[in-house]
């Protein structure tokens, strides 16, 4: 008897084995089915709902997926041999109920049990997203989630530039750019999405060129149009997150109200000279997260609004605020951490200070309070660019 066979005989005597059909029943009762085969093996099919965790990473990552050591684990490989070794490793790690699926995936498939083909990253994607894939908080499942995500970006200007670039780089699968401006030389002091070589182009087309140059594997949809009450719902529907990098208050109110109507979170940022604001509005059950109108119920009258052209902004300021907005967007898409909701982050570039103020849900909010159903309207322009 070979060393291997002797060892397997020992393991079979100690490790509980379970038939594939019984494994399915146990999985439905709450046991975690773990497919420990290599990625190349699971690429063509794996049990539906199984955790795919190759044996080489099993002990390192199992606790992220199975924090309760009492939860029954059912290990599966191709034929029921590697899963015996793996089961012993997990018992030694501290899991109390670990079983091996007899006959492995071959038996599962032969029994006509449910199989799914997991979405796959190709070699180039694995290389591109390696620094995400090695983070347990993102990993392969998170990267797939980003690739399936759809984000609408209002404004391809100062804030929109870093937001779009970082979301494209991160692999957000579909980015919708909405802007009705052309690229001008005076934009290039801060709008790093554009370039001297694309002066005069529509911003959404210039942006699309830059984003696909950075990451040709994503989809960039461009809408060369101004957001208005008549088109806002059509343009924003079907997105997981809306990011407001617009440059005027009427659009900000319109985006807020449309996002509430659609139930989509709105990542907000605004800048002026050396100062910036960031927050996340809406996108949760009513009364849970405040909206923009909870913070600013109404815009100031035109005579109090600064002229945008005269206002000026430090070129790097949209970079500071826009990258925070991009981070909040990715957190929302992946369900990571605590969103910057119910709080407004204030950045004072001259002092180099971040401060935070509380933003509460306004029970009388004209947009998001119970029973409110705000009309989408085009407020008179208070800052005409």
């Amino acid at each position: 008897m070979s060393l291997k066979d002797r060892r397997l005989a020992e393991l079979r005597a100690r490790i509980a084995e379970v038939a594939a059909t019984d494994a399915l029943a146990l999985q439905r009762d709450g046991a975690l089915l773990v497919d420990v085969r290599e990625d190349e093996e699971t690429a063509t099919g794996s049990p539906a709902g199984a955790l795919r965790l190759p044996r080489g990473f099993l002990e390192l990552r199992i606790e992220e997926k199975a924090p309760d050591p009492a939860r029954p684990l059912l290990l599966m490989c191709a034929g029921g041999t590697r899963s015996l070794f793996a089961a012993e490793d997990l018992l030694r790690l501290g899991y109390r109920d670990v079983r091996s699926v007899a006959g492995g995936f071959s038996a599962w498939k032969a029994g006509g049990l449910p199989v799914e083909v997991p979405p796959q990253l190709d070699a180039a994607q694995r290389e591109r997203y390696r620094r995400h894939l090695t983070m347990p908080e993102v990993g392969e499942a998170g990267q797939h989630r980003l690739l399936r995500s759809r984000v609408a970006l209002i404004g391809a200007g100062g804030l929109g530039s870093p937001i779009a670039l970082y979301l494209a780089a991160a692999g957000v699968g579909r980015l919708t750019l909405i802007d009705d401006d052309r690229v001008e030389r005076s934009n290039l002091q801060r709008q790093i999405l554009h370039a001297e070589s694309r002066l005069g182009q529509r911003k959404v087309e210039s942006g699309r060129t830059a984003l696909l140059d950075l990451n040709p594997t994503i989809e960039v949809v461009s809408h060369d149009t101004r957001l208005e009450a008549a088109n806002v719902l059509d343009l924003l529907a079907g997105h997981d997150v809306v990011v407001d990098g617009s440059d005027n208050l009427p659009t900000r109110y319109l985006v807020n109200d449309a996002c509430l109507r659609l139930g989509v979170p709105n990542v907000y940022g605004a800048i002026f000279r050396f100062e910036g604001q960031v927050s996340v509005f809406g996108g949760a059950a009513p009364g849970v997260r405040p909206c923009y109108r909870c913070l600013f119920p109404e815009p100031p009258p035109a005579e109090y609004a600064p002229s945008c052209a005269e206002a000026g902004v430090l070129g790097v300021l949209p970079g500071v605020i826009g990258t925070i907005m991009a981070a909040e967007t990715i957190k929302l898409l992946l369900g990571l951490g605590d969103p910057l909701a119910g709080r407004l982050l204030l950045y004072d570039g001259l002092r180099g200070e971040f401060n935070e103020i509380a933003v509460s849900v306004d029970p009388d909010c004209p947009s998001c309070s119970a029973g409110a159903h705000p009309e989408l309207s085009d407020i008179a322009t208070v800052c005409s660019g």
Partner: protein
């Protein structure tokens, strides 16, 4: 009026009223007293923050620490010694 000093952070769009400074220190035992001291002698600044009835305008927010003073008793909210008020208005730019 009291001699207790309050620091008021002034947002960029309103700094033209305070000589470009980003914060000023004024006396005041309540939010109303502090804002009155801030805007003393400047009708345009006062009108920017207050309605004709003396209420805070809806597009101006004032925070004591991190909390909106509207939730702390409004303009009559008492200010502890060394309080910091933050004035805030909407920024449009992107």
């Amino acid at each position: 009026m009291t001699n207790a000093e309050v620091t008021i952070r002034v947002p960029t769009p309103l700094r033209g009223f305070v000589g470009g400074r980003d914060q000023v220190t004024v006396p005041g035992a309540t939010v109303r007293e502090a804002l009155a001291a801030l805007t003393a002698g400047q009708d345009a600044f006062h009108d920017r923050l207050f309605t004709a009835e003396g209420d805070l305008r809806r597009f101006v927010n004032v925070y004591l620490g991190r909390d909106d003073v509207r939730r702390l008793g409004g303009l009559e909210a008492a200010l502890p010694a060394g309080a910091t008020l933050t004035l805030m208005v909407a920024l449009a730019g992107g």
